[in-house]
Amino acid sequence: MRYGKVYVEDVQVGAEIPWLVKGPLAQIQLTRYAGASGDFNPIHQDDEFARAAGMGGVFAHGMLSMGFVAQVLTDWAGAGTVRRLGVRFAALVRLKDVVTCRGRVLAKTSKDDQHLVDLEVWAENQRGEKVVTGRATLALPSRG
C-alpha cells in the first residue's frame, strides 16, 4: 500500500491525497543531499557561514523539500507518474523541522489515451506554516 498505483477513475476532484511526514531534519540529511545533488552551498552546512550571511543559521536546500513534495505524489500514485511539478519556496526549513507534504486534486482531463490529473501541492512545518507551495500534473493509467 505504501507505493500505490492509482487509476484515473479512482481520483475525485477536491479530494486530498495521503500526507507524507518527513523529518525532524538533521544536519546529516542536508549533507547527504548536498553530496547527492551536487549543491555544496555552505549556507546549508556551515552554521557560522549561514549566520554571517544574515540567515540566522543553517537551513535546508529548497530542493530537499521539493523532493519530499515529489515523494508525496509518487507514494500515492506510483513512480513515473509526475509530468510537471512547479513550486515556490515560501519559507525556510530549519534543522529539527518536521515537514508534512500534502496535495489536493484540482482537475482531471482525459484526451485520447492520456489521463492527466492536476493537483495543488504544499508542504508545511510543525507550526502549520507553508514552506513550499505549488502545482503538479500527473499522468495516470485508466482501468478502461
Partner: protein, 151 residues
C-alpha cells in the same frame, strides 16, 4: 546600500553540456531524500517495470550540472556572492522517464530578471530555463529555476 548585479546576463545562452545518468547517482539521490521507492532503488523491480530499468525521481534533473565548467558561472556573470543567493522557485516538466546510461544535452538560458522588495529588503529574481534533449534532439525534460539574490 544594496549591491548591484550585472543585468546584461539577461538573454544569455550558456554553452550546451552533456550529462550521463548514472545508476548509483539515481540511488544516492533517492536515498538522500529518504525516498526508498523500489522503482528508484531495486534493479530487479526496475528490470520488470514498463521502463526496463530503474528510473530517476522527478527532481533528479537538478543534478544536471555542467561538470566541465565553473558551476558558479551564473553567479560570476551576475557578480554575486553565493551567500546572497536563495532558491525562489523551481519547475520540472518531464516528457519521459530518465534511466541509467542515457546521455543528454542540456541548454541553459537566462529568460527573465526582475526586482521585488520583500520583508528582508530588495531582491532580484533571475529566471533560467534549461532544456534537456536526447541524442536525436527530442525533448526529455525542461527546468525553470528562479534564483533570488538579496541585494
Amino acid at each position: 546600500m544594496p549591491i548591484q548585479i550585472d543585468r546584461s546576463v539577461l538573454g544569455k545562452e550558456y554553452a550546451p553540456y552533456p550529462v550521463t545518468v548514472e545508476r548509483g547517482r539515481i540511488k544516492d539521490f533517492a536515498r538522500a531524500l529518504g525516498d526508498l521507492n523500489p522503482f528508484y532503488l531495486d534493479d530487479h523491480v526496475g528490470a520488470a517495470s514498463e521502463w526496463g530499468d530503474v528510473i530517476a525521481p522527478p527532481s533528479f534533473p537538478i543534478t544536471f550540472r555542467d561538470e566541465t565548467a565553473d558551476s558558479a558561472a551564473l553567479l560570476r556573470d551576475l557578480g554575486v556572492d553565493i551567500s546572497r543567493v536563495l532558491h525562489g522557485e523551481q519547475e520540472f516538466e518531464l516528457f519521459r522517464q530518465l534511466t541509467p546510461g542515457e546521455t543528454y544535452l542540456c541548454r541553459a538560458k537566462v529568460v527573465d530578471i526582475y526586482d521585488k522588495t520583500g520583508r528582508s529588503g530588495p531582491m532580484a529574481f533571475v529566471v533560467r530555463e534549461i532544456a534537456v534533449t536526447d541524442r536525436t534532439g527530442e525533448m526529455v525534460a525542461t527546468m525553470r529555476q528562479t534564483t533570488v539574490i538579496r541585494l
